[in-house]
Every structure is written in structure tokens, then in C-alpha cells.
Symmetry: C2
Amino acid sequence: MGTEAARVPAARGAATEQRLIAAAERLFAEHGVGAVSLRTVMQAAQTNVAAIHYHFGSKEGLLDAVLRSRLGQVTGERTAMLRESPGKDVTAGELARAFVQPVVAVLESGGECWIRLVGQLLATGGDGLDAIAESFFERNAAFVEQLDRLSPGVPRRTLDFRLSQAMTVTLNVLGDVGRTRRLHGPDAADWTTGQIVDDLVDVVTSVLAGPPGARRRK
Amino acid sequence: MGTEAARVPAARGAATEQRLIAAAERLFAEHGVGAVSLRTVMQAAQTNVAAIHYHFGSKEGLLDAVLRSRLGQVTGERTAMLRESPGKDVTAGELARAFVQPVVAVLESGGECWIRLVGQLLATGGDGLDAIAESFFERNAAFVEQLDRLSPGVPRRTLDFRLSQAMTVTLNVLGDVGRTRRLHGPDAADWTTGQIVDDLVDVVTSVLAGPPGARRRK
DNA sequence: GTCTATATTCCGATAGAC
DNA sequence: GTCTATCGGAATATAGAC
């Protein structure tokens, strides 16, 4: 703590934008986008209101920046997972693991709030959904293709539906691992994140494989 | 349209509370609770701000009233479904149908926004969740019991987890049937609500039954 | 790029007439 | 029970100094 101990304003320069994104990501996820004011974000990021408007233009611009900040990672990982998977004879379990893994990667890189936020926007269905949905479901066609090989005869629409529900479940679980752990019994303290992911992959596997009894269609 | 055509203020008396609940239900679901002001609700219900505070005390009180307005129906139907189901040897498909049906009943009685709102609060995880979760998952113990008979040997925690994910999917689909229809291909116009419910029941069946391959636990 | 100061609108909540 | 009027404060957004 020398002469420059209290002199940080110049040093934090370029990092302001990232601090704002990080603060908004957490606050939006925890309280909902509409319930969070720019002032709250500003205080958490230890800057001023003007900085938000300078960097992002508006609250909506800030939300876009937050979503965009980790979107590339997800789509990139999803593409990579699909490239690694063999062209055929992939099991439902392997496909589920490939489906969930990119989101797990985001979680492990500190993106839990981001996941919860995306799940939240998906549940609201309102604004800002289109931009994210486009990139998010961009790679779904390839998944559906592999699903079709797995479940021949099932309508394409049903496969697409299953994939959507798999995503819903994935975002719901990985968006708040602590709550998942908390909700299910008091003996859940030893329920590791890895085990939760395994349970999640099992659920996704079930969803992708379809009901067991070769259910009749109407 | 006689002499009393323009005289409605006295007639709408007792219905004000219901109009406020209906307006809030829709607006909260469509834009998120935090993004909706009491003034917006007031305008939609064609009353004044004071009425909201008179009937519900605060914004939080209004939200509580909205949630409570249809909660009884759901828990009631769930209890009825469990009573109807045979004590043993129930299939996963039957259990899934019994699980989904109460929410379908809410949908059919005009409660789509209510369902979406609950799903939204569940995804946010923040406030107002405890009150609803308590009543909502009150009857889950009986479901888990039947699940246990269906999948012997599977840890209770995993069964509970599956049931939670079944609820997540159910709320997500039935909370916005139009979006579900819209998201999956342009040929989805002829995808009736009944067929969507069938697809949903299939997904829930899969989730409740667990993965097909008798997956190994770590 | 950063910040203080401010403009303007809107928020939730209440008081008091009817 | 219903409404108008209003309070105190907080919201988004901008202007302009540094």
C-alpha cells in the first residue's frame, strides 16, 4: 500500500466492460432481468451509470452482451462434440453425453449464472429469446439427424420436440446445481456435481431414446 | 344502451379483484414479474393504483394472490389422480399421464399464463418460490412412492430428481403451447394441443422410467 | 474512457374525499 | 370500495467536464 494504493481508477480502464458483464450476468440470473436496475449493476461492478450506456447503449444492449459473452463457447463445443461422434451407431447415452457436455463446460468455467439466465429467458419466452435461440438451436439439426438414426420411424417433429425438452432440463439443472442439490433431501450434501451431471445425462438419455414401451401414436 | 349504458363503475365493484388477478397473471407471465409495474397492471385491469394496494397490499401480495388463485386446482387434481390410480402395478405411462393431467386441466381452464409464470419463477429460483414449491411438491412423495415400485433399486434421490425434471418439462411445454408449436418446423400448424400433450406424456414417461440400458451407477 | 451532475419519466405507496 | 391527488424516491438516459 504505497503511493499508488488508492490509485486504481486508471488501472481498471479496459476491464470495466468485463466487470459490468460479469455483474449483470449474476444479478440478471438471480433476480430476473426486469427486476434489476442499471444502478444495481453499476454498484456491483463499482463503476457509474454512464459507463453502462457508453459501452452497451442501453439495458437491452447489456443483456445482449451478457448472452453473447458465452454463446460462442457453447456453439463451439457443440460443434466439436458432433465432429467427434462417430457417423453412425451412436447410442442414446453417448448422444446425451455429447448434448450435455458443452453446457457442463460452461458451468465449469464459471458460467452457472449464464446458464440460469438463458433458462430463465427461455421460460419467459419474451424478448431477447430469438437471438439466443437461433445460435443455440443452430446445431440441433445435426443432433436430430443422429436421433433419427437412433429412433427410425419416429416423426421428425417428435425428435425435435424431445431435443428441446432435453435442453430445457439441462439448463434447469446446470443453471443452479446448488438448488438441485438442496431440493432433494437432506442427505444430498454428498451429492457431487459429477453425480448430478450423471443423473442429468440419464434423464436426457431417457428423453432422447423415447418411452420404453414403443408407445402407439394416435 | 339506455340511460345506464355509461354507468358501470358501481357494477364492476366486486369483480375488480378478479380483473386485477387476471391482468397480473398475463402480464407477469409475458414480461416477467420484475419488468411489470403496478401501473401497467392497473391500466390493463381498467382500475386505479389504489385498488391494487387496497386488495393485495403490495406487488408481492398481488403475485401471491395470482399464484394462489389456481394452486388449489392443481393440488386438488393431483390428489384426485393419485387416489384413482391403482395401488400397485401402475405403468410408467399411466403414472406420467396422472402427473401431467392436472396441469393440462389448468391449461384447459384458461391457465396457460399461470403455468408459464410458475415455470418462470421456478427457473429464476429467487423469491416467491418457497410458497408455491411447498404446495406444488407436497404430493410428490406419493408419486415417488409409486416410482419406487416401478424402478426398484434406484436411489430415492434419483427418483426425486426425475420427478423434478418431469415437472420442469411439463411447465415448459404447457406454459406456452403456441411457442412449442411454433418452434418445431413450419408444418406444425396441424399439431393439435392433444398431440402435443401426448408427446409431452411420452417425454415424461421416458423421464420417469429412466434410461433404457439399465445404466451403471458410479 | 471515465465520471459528476442533472433532466425527465416513472415507480410503489399513501392520504383523504366521496 | 373506489377514486384523485400526491409524496418521496428511483428509474433510464444524457450532457458535459476531465
